[in-house]
Amino acid sequence: MADNSAEIQDLLAKLQKAGAKISSEPPPSNVSSMSGDMLTKLDHLKITPNEFNAWVSWSKSF
């Protein structure tokens, strides 16, 4: 019987590409007081550290 594993693999490959694209881009140079990972994340989200903390809290609520 057919299952969904092939379609899941296709989807995960697409998601992998999206994730890789984000992690390969360098952090911005105009903020220096935070770690590189956080800088990259905030830059892509275009939000402030406080807003990011709120988002982390929000995402944990699920």
């Binding site: 296709d10 697409k14 998601l15 699920f62």
Partner: protein, 399 residues
């Protein structure tokens, strides 16, 4: 302790406006015409007895009553207050929460005082900007009702600011001929509403017509507008459910992505029907052959009609077998799976739009740093915290 039970109470079986898409008055069922225009005292007595009995026998843990219509405010203030007073006097107040879904056009300061006095959570219907709202939500003469609705919203918002009410919710019916982002921004940014939901139009496999790509575009626009503001504490039930389901959590929308909620509809005359949102499937689907005065909760949950629906909904449609999101979406929302010829066993009529939305949301999560493995486990139904016994919250009102 028993489950939370939702009762949709038809305070009025008439409406002061005439929305073109109304599932209640514009659908095939004309049962409302034979019922009392507003809830009878006999029904109120039976309702209070039913709730007290169900709590005493521990068949229910607590009740959420959603005052509904037609337009529920047509009941009138005096009768509304007597009903609330009787309810609170006859049952443990901590076991009953009261909500109301209104078109907001009749709200005045006296209604606000009643909502405050009886701790009513209020949700209103608003379809977005004036051109969109006035397209469908019209009065009996075909005139748009946006201005009256906004007047009601202003009173509600002032009451929230004054601490009289906890908040106001908003339901929007999706119309893909407009921009989802524009509608979202108008409601959230212009009008300041923080709790809302977008409802896909009531339809089944027997009635659906539409362009799926336009629904995809609209839903993704709404998702993106909401996602951009996720740190601002905007609760959008549909999209929050989509994200939650992708992360192995529950759906917050009854009949979507998990177990059905326990909800029944009580007519003004005391007839009982299944959850009101199933009405579009036909009178025979929602009929319950028990009157409120004779009902126990156990007897209601064991009716043939409900058990058949639960059986069919528990199965993921065969058509979904190869879909990556089959364990997340589970065939879509209950009503959208319905066809007269074979019940609820098909995938949603909105399948294409739901697929696009889930894929888009998964991308957004990954870009925000959610590990792909977490989503992969969920897609494969391997999430450790994923429970098949979903709890679903079926009311938008701010309980």
């Amino acid at each position: 302790m028993g489950p939370r039970v939702e009762l949709i109470i038809k305070l009025a079986e008439r409406c002061n406006i005439n929305c073109t898409y109304c599932y209640y008055f514009e659908g095939n069922s004309k049962r409302f015409m034979h019922r009392s225009p507003t809830i009878t005292q006999t029904t109120v007595d039976a309702l209070c007895n039913f709730i007290a009995r169900s709590l005493e026998q521990q068949e229910a843990g607590d009740f959420r009553l959603i005052f509904h219509g037609g337009e529920p405010l047509l009941i009138g203030k005096k009768k509304f207050e007597l009903l609330c007073k009787q309810l609170y006097e006859s049952v443990d107040q901590t076991k009953v929460s009261l909500c109301l879904q209104t078109n907001a056009t009749l709200i005045d300061s006296e209604w606000i005082d009643l909502f405050q006095k009886y701790r009513i959570s209020v949700s209103m219907s608003l379809d977005g900007t004036q051109p969109m709202h006035d397209l469908s939500r019209v009065d009996k003469k075909g005139r748009g009702t946006y201005e009256q609705t906004i007047r009601g919203l202003r009173l509600l918002s002032e009451a929230v600011s004054d601490g009289k009410l906890d908040g106001v919710g908003c339901l929007v019916v999706v119309n893909p001929s407009f921009s989802g982002r524009d509608i979202y921004n108008h409601i959230v940014q212009d009008l300041g509403i923080r709790t809302l939901d977008f409802l896909l139009p009531d339809t089944t496999h027997d009635t659906f017509t539409g362009d799926m790509s336009s629904f995809s575009r609209y839903l993704i626009e709404v998702f993106d507008a909401w996602w951009d503001q996720k740190h601002k504490d905007v609760h959008l039930r549909f999209m929050k459910s989509v994200v939650s389901l992708l992360l192995g959590g529950p759906s917050f929308l009854g009949g979507f992505g998990g177990k059905l909620s326990t909800a029944f509809t009580v007519s003004s005359d005391g007839d009982i029907e299944l959850d009101d949102f199933l009405r579009v499937c036909g009178d025979d689907v929602i009929a319950v052959p028990i009157r409120l005065s004779d009902a126990s909760l156990t007897s209601l949950t064991r009716t043939d009609t409900l058990m058949k629906i639960e059986r069919e909904y528990a199965e993921i449609p065969l058509e979904c077998n190869q879909c990556a999101f089959k364990f997340v979406c589970r065939g879509g929302q209950l009503t959208h799976r319905f066809a007269k010829v074979d019940g609820f066993i098909r995938k949603s009529v909105y399948c294409g739009a739901l697929y696009d939305l889930f894929e888009h949301a998964a991308h957004a999560l990954v870009i925000d740093g959610i590990p792909i493995e977490r989503i992969a486990n969920r897609l494969k139904d391997l999430s450790p915290n994923h429970s098949k016994n979903f709890k679903s919250a079926d009311s938008l009102a701010l309980a």
